[in-house]
Symmetry: C2
Subunit: 248 residues, 2 copies
């Protein structure tokens, strides 16, 4: 049986900028223990990785102008979105794409809130699983603790209103808990149950992260059973193949 | 700023059957406080509400037989699914429907695991928001505590592998935290951010709920700011209208 889990906000991080050693800053701000799951908002990961872009520097292509007109968006923003895009999923009312790293989300995850400078937007990390692995190594080196790292972002969903945080990258945790083939307590096989634990941890972490106050890191404590020695498959394991997806 | 949140599993509930006063049983098993959010797995709510069905009692219609053949499912199960269905969303490989209560999910949420009796399946509560309101009133009467109640179930998602728990019913909490029009700390308006807090609470609760051990109730403690005097709009507020949905 699982015991209690604590969700602990990590206050006291400085404003993050390009080149900052984010893992070291987190290790200094948090009182980490072995087995903690450190959930980090995508925004500060992107900021540390220099993923800010100025719209003034962007020259939109004819394709971006055409899409932007239909969507009532800034063509320079659409140009940046297309630069992150492997395939367009929907371009009616909202622009939902599959990113180069395989995430399906609105506007390729490009965000214009919480970014200083009215003209500036923030791209997702280029490879969020790689970000998670690097942050995990930095945290381990700085703290001596074996933790898991999840990079989280807020995504919308079909069918349901509102966004929830999901894991766009992870390291040191298997993002899926696969119950298929295991039995329930009546001995019946649980045939179709794979739990997206990394997404549930990302969502849980958001419960203590006040967007206005700027507390971008949460520690989830109490599921050290989930933290693995190896970095593991990353959040890539959560991405449904296009061929298996009925909604692309 | 938000403080820590604790997720506390509630052990010690008896096996639940039709007619059980589930709210009273939960109040007796949990050490509740004002401001707790009580997250209850759909299965025990359905069991208490007598939503068990025996496949042997079901006579499948021609339409159910036809769909079942294409989906390699038991036609009697498909008949039960159709009985809960307002509209079919997909019937290719999996059967995804909009239920009478407005949820979009596979198989109308009908589940065959954790139900005693090889022939027995379990329907969703007929009106999960009503279930949540009733359970909240029962818990308040038995414990004297003002809590919120969320009825949670595991749903799959387009684009992402694995299920996460979502709120199919709730009472005493506004399921959406609407940041639209509010400003971030740089004074920029957060235009598109509505957070599905009830879904994030449901997902968080699942982190301490061991499916094999049968611990179907979690208390989330630390967000008493979310618990309202009124029952509120329920999880119905999370259901995207068909006209606004690009994926139906």
């Amino acid at each position: 049986m699982t015991g209690p889990v604590e969700l602990l906000p990590v206050p006291g991080l400085p404003e993050i900028g390009p080149g900052d050693r984010l893992g070291e800053l987190i290790a200094a701000a948090a009182e980490l223990r072995d087995g903690d799951v450190v959930v980090i908002a995508q925004k500060i990961v992107s900021k540390a990785e220099g993923r800010q872009r100025r719209l003034a520097d962007v020259a939109p292509s004819p394709r971006a102008r055409e899409l932007a007109a239909g969507l009532d968006k800034d063509p320079r923003l659409v140009e940046l979105i297309l630069g992150e895009t492997r395939a367009i999923v929907r371009d009616e009312r909202v622009l939902i794409v599959e990113t180069a790293s395989g995430l399906v989300c609105a506007n390729a995850g490009i965000d214009s809130s919480n970014v200083p400078g009215a003209d500036e937007v923030l791209l997702l990390p280029a490879d969020p699983d790689n970000s998670a692995r690097r942050l995990r190594a930095e945290i381990a080196a700085a703290s001596g603790c074996r933790v898991a790292v999840i990079v989280a972002d807020s995504f919308g969903r079909p069918w349901r209103i509102g966004q929830t945080d999901v894991a766009i990258g992870c390291a040191g945790i298997d993002p899926l808990d696969d119950w298929r083939g295991r039995s329930d307590r009546d001995g019946r096989q649980l045939v179709a149950t794979e739990i997206a634990l990394a997404d549930e941890l990302a969502a849980a972490a958001d419960l203590v992260r006040d967007k206005a106050a700027g507390v971008p890191v949460t520690v989830a404590r109490g599921r050290s059973d989930l933290v693995t020695a190896a970095d593991g498959p990353g959040a890539a394991a959560l991405r449904r193949d296009r061929a298996d997806d009925l909604f692309r």
